[in-house]
């Protein structure tokens, strides 16, 4: 039993324990805290599984953004139901049964793999150098399965439209009801002045380094979204109304540029989303930067929620 396996077993037991605590928590707020802790610990597990890109995304999304989203949900739940935020027993039983089924399916798939595990990884590594990229994950995302990545970004915008559609007709195009920090706090103001410049540098770094090392547009975009939300929560910038032109432009610039390059590929290269020889890396980097902006705005608006009031004229 090496030190490493003790570490891994300890980590797995801890993660399971936090999971159990999250389910057994009496209050929704405590459960959300448990979920965020679970996400942050899971990123360490991904690192142990040598999936550093996934670890980055887990720390960003599972730790920060999902926690933010669910806290917003808990707040709305509290407004609607008061302090008793526990779901009813039939709902919890149904959720438990469905989760157990999914877990059983996953366990069967992992514990009884086919004789020869079908994998394209060797082929990916062989051909990666042609695209000029060094990170195989970026290669899969932007070269081999670029269509999936494009569609995912569109799905993100559709999700945002879904959230916006929850607004009543009278406030459509209004200001999202992001709950701000209740009192003017100099401490939070200081944090919101200190952290975002660092966060922007980290986001640009994440996006830039994603071509060679683990990283990429999604992680960078999430950092941007978190910094923007921090600035709005602290009250340093007001929450923009969703009919602003710059906001909608930023939202679509990523997928539009991606789509444009894809269509140009039909003319300049051989197929839709193919890159002309030698230009793959600069085009991919350009797409990644545009996507970082779009993802940042989209995730920030998702966490801000549907519009709740209109700009006073």
């Amino acid at each position: 039993m090496t030190i490493l396996s003790v570490f891994d077993i300890g980590l797995a037991v801890l993660i399971l324990g936090i999971g159990v605590w999250t389910i057994a928590a009496r209050e929704a707020f405590a459960a959300v805290i448990g979920f965020v802790v679970y996400g942050l610990l899971l990123s360490i597990a991904w690192v142990r599984l040598s999936a550093v890109d996934v670890a980055l995304t887990e720390a960003a999304i599972g730790g920060g953004m999902t926690g933010m989203l669910m806290l917003g949900a808990v707040a709305r739940l509290r407004l609607a139901k008061g302090n008793d935020t526990r779901a009813s027993l039939p709902v919890r039983l149904a959720a438990g049964v469905l989760c157990a089924l999914v877990a059983a399916g996953l366990a069967t798939a992992i514990l009884s793999p086919p004789e020869a595990i079908p994998t394209l990884a060797p082929m990916v590594m062989e051909n990666l150098a042609q695209s000029g990229l060094g990170n195989p994950v970026a290669g899969v995302l932007f070269v081999y399965r670029a269509l999936d990545t494009l569609l995912e970004k569109v799905v993100l915008i559709l999700a945002l439209l879904g959230v916006w559609s929850l607004a009543p007709d009278s406030v459509w195009g209004g200001i999202p009801g992001l709950r701000l920090y209740a009192q003017r706090s100099s401490t939070l103001t200081f944090l919101a002045q200190l952290l975002p410049p660092l966060g922007i540098v980290v986001a640009i770094y994440m996006c830039w380094v994603g071509a060679k090392e683990p990283g990429g547009a999604f992680q960078g975009g999430t950092v941007l979204a978190a910094m923007w939300l921090l600035v709005m929560i602290a009250g340093l910038r007001s929450v923009p109304s969703i009919d602003q032109r710059w906001l909608r432009l930023l939202l679509v610039v990523g997928p539009v540029i991606f789509l444009a390059i894809g269509i140009a590929g039909m003319v300049l290269a051989t197929a839709f989303l193919a890159y002309p020889a030698g230009y793959a890396k600069p085009l991919i980097v350009a797409v990644e930067f545009a996507l970082t902006l779009s993802i940042g705005v989209a995730l920030g608006l998702l966490a801000a929620g549907p519009p709740e009031r209109v700009q006073r004229p």
């Binding site: 090496t2 030190i3 490493l4 570490f7 300890g10 801890l14 324990g17 936090i18 209050e27 707020f29 405590a30 805290i33 448990g34 965020v36 802790v37 942050l40 610990l41 990123s43 360490i44 690192v47 550093v52 670890a55 720390a59 960003a60 730790g63 920060g64 926690g67 933010m68 806290l71 808990v74 707040a75 509290r78 009278s170 406030v171 009801g177 709950r179 701000l180 920090y181 209740a182 009192q183 939070l188 944090l191 952290l195 660092l198 966060g199 980290v202 994440m206 380094v209 090392e213 683990p214 990283g215 992680q219 978190a226 939300l229 921090l230 929560i233 709740e308 009031r309 209109v310 006073r312």
Partner: protein
């Protein structure tokens, strides 16, 4: 050196686990909010030690994001905990 660093990472993990156990057992919400702070320091220590032990520099980037998002999560917790008592939003007026 590598096994020493793995052992150190395991020790810090045990400390984080113990800390989480103690924090989450208490009933008060404010105690639970400290979990973000605990992971922000302990988790970063674990990742930095793992990065040195496995000689994989990208893991340090994960530590960077963990530090950022633990701070962000803590702000979100504090906002939700204190925001439940006084919502300081202007009342809506359509059009």
């Amino acid at each position: 050196m590598a096994s020493f660093l793995f052992g150190a990472a395991g020790f810090v993990l045990a400390m984080v686990a113990l800390g989480l156990f103690v924090i989450l057992q208490r009933p008060a919400e404010v105690d639970h909010m400290m979990a973000a702070q605990l992971l922000g320091t302990g988790g970063v220590a674990i990742l930095v030690l793992l990065a040195a032990a496995t000689e994989t520099p990208p893991i340090v980037d994960v530590a960077l994001l963990l530090a950022l998002f633990a701070a962000f999560a803590a702000v979100a917790f504090v906002r939700s905990a204190s925001g439940s008592t006084s919502e300081s939003r202007e009342t809506a007026s359509g059009g």
